[in-house]
């Protein structure tokens, strides 16, 4: 195979006058420059020394056999015996010529290798290098046959056929181990003409030497060897493989190969299956009402955070009260959890968005648990209701939810958004002007005290009593909440929203939220805002609570969905909704 490739390059090279090929049987190649000498005994070249070895510039010794199944004596007789016979004959006939020998990577110059072939190859190499000849040894590994070169060894032939599509990739990845018959031939010519920096050359050297010649001819303006039509299949397959791998990596990153991965799409889909028709609406806290107002900062927060809206002053707020439901037409009496979302805008464009619930702790601490809880609330299309046992099962498997469950069972119900405390639940870092960070949570504490109402009587107030109550109260004047920041002590959990911090933690009243006006969501300024709790000003950073990233990601998905579903959003004239 190598001999065939080398012969081809020699015949193609305009600088080569004559190629003498010593063969056992006449070959199939015919060329005006080729002189074939048929010789039977490769252990003794003396009879053809004058015709084949005298007056030559170089001998390219490409003969070799596979060692598999051979005794050391037999392998030595061929590998060592024939090579040295040829080299000795050359030394006597043309002592100034070069002898270029094809060996294998792994040949052992110490001759002590445990692998027989490596010992014999090493012994042969050493014997050659001791001769006063210009000897160069190519230690090759993987040789890609090109231009129709074929190995004599059937198992190699099969291997090269199978490996052909991978060859360009292998050449790129392992430049020191892969070459091809064309480059070997060109490198031999290059070495015969100009020598090489050292006698032992590996595939990388061969590739460089083989290309030297190539680039010299093209630089001189000689016609390039047309290669476009030679064996493009391997190269094409290599390109296809690379493109396919890139596409698979992309698709994998997109999650299309991992149906079990918890994604924002899956989360929001689950949130959307909790009854009613949520299209066009937020997928959680789907029913709500917009408000506007001011945040009047006392300046007390400025020492613990550099957030611009904590400096003394007044900042506009666009907010939203809502109930935690997936159904935008749910009755207000059905929702245990109520929420307040705010967007405080500073003069320089910095924003603080926050979504807060009226429970003192959150039900879960991880997105996975939140997903499980959401699935437990899924409505069965047959009954129109969730499976009543599903939530019990969820609680039994999630002991971290017990504080939330206890609150949900025992906390008094009220008939108003206005008398509730809304808690950030997740922790955040406040960064002060000196760059120190403080772990905090915050709450909106009402100035009205809660007016407990029996849960049973809420249903008699009508489906929208919370919105009506808010509009009624705001018609008489604004409603105030104090923004209370709670400072953690070392050891307080930063990443677990199911656990409250001890009651004795330092609290800082950083200002007053003045809610001035409310309006139906369809007309309200809040509708087109995503209350992503990670949209924070300088001076406030998310903690490591995994819920924060999950909220941000899922809220974005919900926002993308509902903005694209504008056709499904009911745009009602504003006077329909306002109570008189």
């Amino acid at each position: 195979m190598i001999g065939g490739g080398v012969l081809r390059e020699c015949l193609a090279d305009p600088g080569v006058d004559e190629v003498i090929s010593i063969v056992r049987r006449a070959g199939t190649v015919h060329h005006s420059k080729l002189r074939e000498i048929v010789h039977a005994d490769f252990h003794d070249f003396s009879s053809i020394a004058g015709t084949a070895f005298a007056g030559v510039d170089a001998v390219f010794f490409c003969l070799g056999v596979a060692s598999a199944g051979m005794s050391e004596a037999d392998y030595t007789r061929i590998t060592y015996g024939i090579t040295l016979a040829a080299a000795q004959t050359l030394l006597q006939s043309s002592p100034a010529a070069s002898f270029i020998y094809v060996s294998g990577v792994g040949a052992d110059s110490s001759e002590r290798s445990r692998r027989m072939w490596a010992r014999v190859r090493g012994r042969t190499e050493n014997a050659l290098l001791r001769l006063p000849l210009k000897t160069f040894i190519f230690r090759l590994a993987l040789i890609q046959p090109v231009h129709g070169a074929v190995s004599r060894t059937p198992s190699y032939r099969l291997f090269y056929m199978a490996a052909a599509p991978l060859m360009p990739l292998l050449r790129m990845l392992f430049p020191a181990s892969v070459t091809n018959t064309e480059l070997v031939g060109r490198a031999m010519l290059e070495v015969a003409r100009h020598g090489a920096p050292r006698p032992l050359l590996d595939s990388r050297d061969v590739n460089v030497l083989g290309r030297c010649k190539f680039e010299r001819t093209s630089a001189a303006g000689a016609p390039r060897v047309a290669t476009a039509h030679h064996a493009p299949l391997g190269a094409l397959a290599g390109i296809g493989l690379i493109i396919a791998l890139a596409a698979i990596a992309f698709v994998y990153t997109a999650g299309w190969l991992s149906p079990n991965r918890l994604t924002p799409v899956g989360m929001v889909d689950a949130l959307s299956r909790r009854g009613g028709d949520p299209r066009g609406h937020r997928r959680n806290h789907a029913k709500g009402i917009c408000f506007t107002g001011e945040f009047e900062a006392s300046g007390a927060g400025a020492s613990i955070s550099s957030a611009p809206m904590l400096a003394e002053g007044s900042y506009p707020v666009i907010g939203r009260f809502a109930i935690a439901t997936g159904n935008p037409r749910a009755s207000d009496a059905t929702a245990r959890v109520r929420s307040m979302a705010i967007r405080i805008l500073a003069h320089d464009g910095e924003e603080w968005r926050s979504g807060m619930n009226d429970s003192p702790v959150f039900a879960v601490s991880t997105p996975q648990a939140f997903y499980a809880m959401t699935r437990a609330q899924e409505v069965d299309p047959a009954t129109g209701k969730p499976d009543p046992r599903a939530m019990q099962r969820f609680y039994s498997m999630h002991p971290e939810s017990k504080d939330f469950a206890a609150w949900a069972r025992s906390a008094p119900w009220t008939a108003s958004y206005a008398d509730q405390t809304y808690n950030s639940l997740n922790a955040f870092y406040f960064i002060d002007n000196a760059g120190r960070s403080h772990l905090v949570r915050w709450s909106m504490q009402p100035t009205l005290s809660p007016q407990p109402v029996p849960q049973a009587s809420l249903a008699t107030l009508g489906p929208d009593f919370l919105e009506q109550d808010l509009l009624r109260r705001l018609a008489q004047g604004s409603l105030d909440w104090h923004l209370i920041v709670t400072m953690a002590q070392p050891g307080d959990p930063s990443s677990d929203a199911t656990r409250a911090w001890p009651a004795n933690r330092q609290r800082v009243d950083v200002g007053t939220l003045v809610v001035q006006q409310a309006s139906e969501e369809s007309d309200g300024a809040c509708r087109d805002y995503n209350y992503d709790p990670t949209i924070l000003p300088v001076g406030i950073r998310p903690s490591g609570d995994p819920l924060l990233a999950a909220r941000s990601s899922a809220y974005a998905r919900s926002f993308d969905l509902r903005t694209a579903e504008a056709a499904d959003y009911p745009h009602r004239p504003s006077h329909d909704a306002k109570p008189q």
């Binding site: 296809g240 994604t263 924003e351 903005t563």
Partner: protein, 176 residues
Amino acid sequence: MSGSRFTPLQRVLHWTMAVMVIAMLFIGVGMVATLRPRFLLLIAIHRPLGILILVFALVRLGVRLRRGAPPLPADLPWPQVAAARGSHVLLYVLLILMPLIGWSMLSAGGYPIVFYGPIHLPPVMPHNDALYAVLRSTHTALAYLLFTVILAHIAAALFHAWVRRDSVFPSMAPWR
């Protein structure tokens, strides 16, 4: 343009942008598919990287208009010439359009456009739901298109390097 290669500046711009744009596409497609904490990091990279790509793309377009490109091989069949010209125009259009759509989309969605820390960019579109919805889906669709064109670009580059072995790949090769 004289010579058979792109200028060193053009090659530096090309390979820097190659890394940025491929990273950007993977970050983009990965971040919208995760709820994990890395979401926040990915989006914090995605936005400023998009602006950087926009700046690089505009600089690159200017350099390209001034310095041109080496000629394609004379023996390249005309359908391949057309594909090469068309795909490069498409690449320039997408590299400039994608960051602009991202920026517009955040504007229309009422999001702050944070470059880094306190450095914000002004909104370039009115805060509008319907506009956001169109821009958001366009951003995704064009991202898939951009990735597809980049795959075609890589395949064509390797085709020139390994099959045709012509002057095209060396003209943009990062070495020598």
